[in-house]
Amino acid sequence: MAAEGIDEFDIRDYLRTELLPHFMCPGCGHGIALRALLWAVHEERIAKDQLAIVTGIGCSGRVGGYIDANTFHVTHGRPLTFATGLALARPDLEVVVITGDGDCLAIGGNHLIHACRRNLRMTCLMLNNEIYGMTGGQVSPTTSEARLTTTTPYGNAEPTFDACGLAAAAGAGLVGRGMTLQTVALKNLIREALAYRGFSFVEILSDCTEIFGRKNDLGSSPEMILRQKGSMRPDFYGNTVEHPFRPNNLTTGIIARNERPEYGDTYRSEVLAPHGHGGAAAGVSAPVE
C-alpha cells in the first residue's frame, strides 16, 4: 500500500538485513510494531540518515538494532534522557525512542513524565507486552491483575498503569494507543506522532507469546493477536465468561492532544535568540567558531 505520491514501502530498505532473522521469539509483536514504525517513517519521507532511534533495555530495546538508521541502544529506563540530549543538540534529527513497559514506566517512569511535561520534539513508542520478557518474564507495571509471572507466581496483585493516561496528564503533546493487530492504523498513528511538533507518546499493545502468553495460557500467536480486541465484546447480555484482560479499555487512536509550544522552539526563541543564536533548527553539535 503506497500513500499518494510515495514509492511502495519495502521494509527491507529500512533494515540491516544482514542481521535478520531477528532475535525475537516467534509471534513476538515487536516485529509488527517495528514494521509500523518503518512504514510510517517511509510515508513521512524521513531520510534514514536523519532518523535517530534511541532504545532502552529489554526486548523492545533490541528492536532498534535492526533499523538501518542512527541507532542508540542505551541504558535501562533512560532512552528518553539520551533522546532529550540528542534532540536538543540536534533538532535536525528525527528522534524516535523505542521503549518497553518496564523500561518506560518502571525504571524510566520519572523520565517519561518529565519528557511529557517538557514537550521536546520526539516520538516515544512504548511497546507494551505486559511483561519483562528479556529477563524471563517478571511482572511489569502494565501486567494485568491476576496474571501469572515469574515474580507473581500466585497472580499479580498490583494494579496496572495506564501509560496513556499518565502521559496525557503529564502534558505530552500527542498521546495515542495502537495495537499490532491493526498494523495500518498503527502506522497511521505513528505517522501522526512523527509529524507532531512536540513530544508524542504512542503505546503499542504488542504480544509476548512465548513467555507471557504461555505462562498465562493465552494461546498461540494468532490467538493472542486476536485477543487484543477481546475486550470489545459486548456486555449488553452480560458476559458469560469472565476473563481478565488489559484493564485499560483498549481505547485506540489519538487519546489526547495538548497543544503546547515545543520545548526546543521555545528554548531557541526565548533563550538563544536574544543572544543572537538559534535559528529555527540550530543545533549545537558543530563547532561554533
Binding site: 540491516r16 540518515d49 541504558t75 540530549g85 536538543l88 518529565h114 553539535s285 561554533v288
Partner: protein
C-alpha cells in the same frame, strides 16, 4: 593561552567558563550542593554562545542527556556532587563502553550518603575510579585551585574529545567555592581538541575499528554512516557480540586505549620533590596545604617534597615511582579515611613507609598538621 584578562572567580564558575572556552555547548544537570554554581553559570553562559542548558529531572537523566547530546556531536558536560555522582555511574559506564566523550564534574562533599553537603571532603577518589561496574577506562582530573579549575576543565574536554572517553573533573568543596584571581584567556586562543569524525565511504566504515591509535572515528548522525551504538559488548561493526575472541579484543582495546595515550593524559606537579626524603602526596585543597607545609619543612632543613597528581586517574605511576623510591617516608594527607593512600601504598613498593593524615570532620587539613607529621617522620622515620 593568550593575554586574556584577570578576573576574580569562584572555582565552580571557573570550571563553567573553562567548559565554555573548551567548546562545551551542552550542559545538563541537576542541582546539588556544592556543585550548583557550575549549573547556574552554565545556564547563564551557554545561551551566549548558542549552547543549550537544560536542568533535567535527576542526575541520571542529566548524564543520559549529555551522552545523547554528545552522540549527536556536541561537547558536553554535567556537574554534580557525591550522591548525584553515584546516580550517574551507570550511564557513565555506558559512556565508557560506547566511547562517548563527555565531562563529569564531581565537587566533593562529606559523605557517605547525604553526609555534609556544605563541607569539603575528598571521599570520591575511589568512586571516581571505580564508580561504575566492570572494568572500564576513565580519566579523572583533580584541580586544586580556581585557576586549575578553569584550565583543567579545558584539558578535560580535550582529553575526552581526543580519546573518546568520559573525563571526570574531581575537586572538593573548598576549590569549588574558593574565589581567586584567574587569568582567563581570550576566547579563540584556547587550544581545543576536536573529535575524530568518520570520513570516507560508508561501506568501509566500522564504528569501532581498531585504528592505529586505538581511537575509532566517531560517526555523526546525519552524515550517512547510520551506525549502531550499544552498551552491549560490541565488535568493530558496533553490533553486539558474545564471541569470546571478539569480546577479548574489543575490551583489550578499550582498556588499553588510555595507556597508549598517557602523554595526552598524564599531568602532575612536583615541589622540591627531586631529593625529597619525605614525599607528601596530595590532591586538591589538601595539596595546597601540603605545599605550604613542605616549604616550611625545607626551611627547617627537612628534605620534604610534594607530589601532586593533577591527573588522578590513571595515576601518573612512572614519575611517582621514581620519586617514591628515593623517599624514606611518604605522607598522604587526605580528607577521607584513606583512599589515595591505598594507591600510594601500592605504588610505593613498601607500604610500611606510607604515613597518612585522614580527616573526616568536614574541616580542611591545616598546613601545620602536615608539617607536624613531616617533622615527626623526619625525627623518627617510619
Amino acid at each position: 593561552m593568550g593575554a586574556g584578562q584577570r578576573i576574580n572567580l569562584q572555582g565552580n564558575h571557573a570550571c563553567a567558563l573553562g567548559a565554555i572556552a573548551a567548546g562545551c555547548r551542552f550542559y545538563a544537570g541537576y542541582p546539588i550542593t556544592p556543585s550548583s554554581d557550575v549549573a547556574e553559570r552554565m545556564a547563564l553562559e551557554l545561551p551566549k554562545v548558542g549552547g543549550v542548558f537544560i536542568q533535567m529531572e535527576d542526575e541520571i537523566a542529566s548524564m543520559g542527556a549529555i551522552i545523547g547530546a554528545s552522540m549527536g556531536g556536541a561537547k558536553v558536560m554535567t556537574a554534580t556532587s557525591g550522591p548525584g555522582f553515584s546516580l550517574k555511574q551507570e550511564n557513565l559506564g555506558y559512556a565508557c563502553m560506547v566511547e562517548v566523550p563527555c565531562v563529569i564534574v564531581d565537587v566533593m562533599r562529606g559523605g557517605p550518603s547525604t553526609g555534609m553537603p556544605t563541607r569539603p571532603a575528598q571521599g570520591d577518589i575511589m568512586q571516581a575510579r571505580w564508580g561504575t561496574h566492570g572494568d572500564h577506562p576513565i580519566v579523572v582530573l583533580a584541580p586544586s585551585s580556581v585557576s586549575e579549575a578553569f584550565s583543567e576543565t579545558i584539558r578535560a574536554f580535550n582529553i575526552a574529545e581526543t580519546l573518546r572517553t568520559p573525563v571526570v573533573l574531581l575537586y572538593d568543596e573548598v576549590v569549588g567555592h574558593l574565589v581567586e584571581t584567574v587569568q582567563v584567556p581570550d576566547p579563540g586562543s584556547v587550544a581545543r581538541a576536536e573529535r575524530k569524525w568518520a570520513t570516507g565511504a560508508r561501506e568501509a566504515f566500522q564504528p569501532y575499528a581498531a585504528t592505529d591509535d586505538d581511537i575509532p572515528a566517531m560517526a555523526r548522525p546525519g552524515d550517512g554512516y547510520r551506525c549502531h551504538a550499544t552498551g552491549l559488548t560490541h565488535g568493530e561493526r558496533g553490533l553486539p557480540t558474545q564471541n569470546p575472541a571478539e569480546v577479548e579484543r574489543a575490551m583489550q582495546r578499550l582498556l588499553g586505549k588510555l595507556e597508549r595515550h598517557r602523554d595526552v593524559i598524564d599531568r602532575f606537579e612536583t615541589f622540591a620533590a627531586e631529593d625529597a626524603e619525605i614525599l607528601v602526596v596530595a590532591i586538591g585543597i589538601t595539596a595546597r596545604a601540603a605545599k605550604r607545609a613542605v616549604a616550611e619543612a625545607r626551611r627547617q632543613g627537612i628534605a620534604a617534597g610534594l607530589f601532586r597528581p593533577v591527573t588522578l586517574w590513571p595515576f601518573p605511576e612512572q614519575p611517582f615511582r621514581a620519586l617514591a623510591e628515593r623517599a624514606k617516608a611518604i605522607l598522604v594527607p587526605e580528607m577521607n579515611a584513606g583512599q589515595l593512600s591505598l594507591e600510594i601504598e601500592r605504588l610505593s613498593g613498601r607500604p610500611a613507609k606510607v604515613a597518612r593524615i585522614n580527616r573526616l570532620s568536614g574541616e580542611p587539613i591545616e598546613p601545620a598538621e602536615i608539617l607536624k607529621t613531616i617533622e615527626e617522620l623526619a625525627r623518627h622515620g617510619r
